[in-house]
Symmetry: C2
Subunit: 150 residues, 2 copies
């Protein structure tokens, strides 16, 4: 559906304004879809992102700083997301002996298992959303998005 119909606005100031709204709206759309996919598994989207970063490091631990550096939303509160993951026993947290200011966060077996389940789902789901684009369009989209943030 065209963005005009989605938010029932017939006219935008110009093509740029429309693209701006469209970008935000589409991002929300994708995040909500992803969120409802994760819901049955008892984690939220930010929690999932942190788990994936931790798997990328595994079997090494990650510090909270490293998580912040790699999270999509840099200003979010990594400490509290790790709190939630720790409560679900998907990660462990212990003070690092070398530098007692930092904390070693490590994904658990349970966390790795959960991600494995979700990987399987992802592989079965290569249609819709971003997959509506051709590979060429996807490359073009990446180029334009990088340009927007320049």
């Amino acid at each position: 559906m065209k963005i005009e119909e989605e938010i029932k606005q017939t006219a935008f100031r110009n093509e740029y304004h429309k693209a701006y709204i469209n970008l935000l709206y589409t991002s929300n759309f994708l995040q909500q879809e992803h969120g409802s996919m994760l819901k049955p598994f008892g984690i939220t989207s930010p929690q999932f992102n942190v788990l994936r970063i931790l798997r990328g490091q595994y079997p090494k631990p990650a510090t909270v700083s490293l998580l912040i550096e790699r999270m999509l939303d840099k200003t979010s509160n990594a400490s509290r997301i790790v709190d939630k993951l720790e409560a679900k026993e998907l990660v462990t947290r212990k003070q690092c002996p070398n530098d007692r200011r930092t904390v070693d966060v490590l994904i658990t077996e349970k966390g790795l298992d959960l991600l494995k389940q979700l990987d399987a789902l992802d592989n079965d789901n290569k249609s819709g959303g971003i997959y509506n684009l051709t590979e060429d369009e996807t490359r073009e989209l990446n180029r334009m998005l990088d340009k927007i943030r320049d």
Copy 2:
């Protein structure tokens, strides 16, 4: 900066995955920029969006349902955003006499003034962000985003 450098990830599973992350990241980037522009004026981004919808209706009032229908994030909580705007005297709220379930929300003079100030800022700021694209690119971006949500 390329998305790989932004989140310090050297490899993505494929171009689609990269575009997905890039879309979410760029949307956050734009929203944060916009949020800090609004901050000195004492309103948040969702509050601003509601004000704009109300100006679009002015001098007619809008119901909360209409706000939800037109908001970028459909699942957000319009009632509570209107609470905040009412506390700042940017909108008024009164029960509708025809249908006593609904509420008439109306932007105040103070609200209209605030938007006018922000309009001026917007006009002085037609560079950077989405304006890094050419107009052709912008049309192409709109087309691709609509396709993603199909």
